[in-house]
Amino acid sequence: MIAVYALGWLLNRRFIEASFGHFLELLESVLPILLIILLLMGLLGLIPRMEQRLQRMTGQRSGWRGWLLAITGGVLSHGPIYPWYPLLQKLQHQGARPALLAAFLYARSVKLPFLPLMAHYFGPGYTVIVTLSMILFSVINGRAVEVLLRRR
């Protein structure tokens, strides 16, 4: 990004000055929220054995418990998705419902530590509605994927 700004400075100094001004404004508004996020992420990291819990109840007859586990696991998991793929692959090979795998991946879109920042930008009402919608739609996403995968 520094190289982009440096090149931009040479091509259009006023554009880069204005962009850097926006960057400083963003930094000033975000710093307090970032501190809260770091604190929340530290607290979430203390939840033990999440991987084993997911592995236990994702079979074909897991019922509402499987959905609850998939969605809760998705919401509580954080960090990049890539480290989670091997576990999801293992669960898939062990017969986990595609609906639950899809629901877990969709529910990961709920980022608890970042909700204060969303509320800061868009208000608490918006944040609650979007968050609850994503949790509900994780079920819809899961069911839809499972139905579509059954079609040949």
């Binding site: 554009f15 850097f20 960057f23 795998l101 991946l105 980022k111 970042f114 994503m134």
Partner: protein
Amino acid sequence: MLGVMLLAGLLVEWIPQLIRHGILGQGVWLDSLLADVMGSLAVGQPIVSYLLAGELQRAGIALLPVTVFIVSWITVGVISLPVEAAALGWRFALWRNAVAFLLALAIGVVTVGLLRAF
């Protein structure tokens, strides 16, 4: 994170130009579709989508496409599709992302509708 905020600074300056050139600001539904595509192609922490969406809203983009942008950023992963497909299969990865793409629009409609209702 600082790099992303520097990028956000560039985009904040660029977005009004997108609107002036007619790329954004073409109406709620077209903007929503474009926002869905943009969010689907984006990579990075969700926090970045909140920052950029906030700037989109300040630039005059309606809440529906702003919401669709946020949701598609965090639920659709075009760039990570090959990795997901390698782990879970191409059919699973393609269908999951395709459904998530459509649901981003649905969540936008639901969110805006509920906010107006209450």
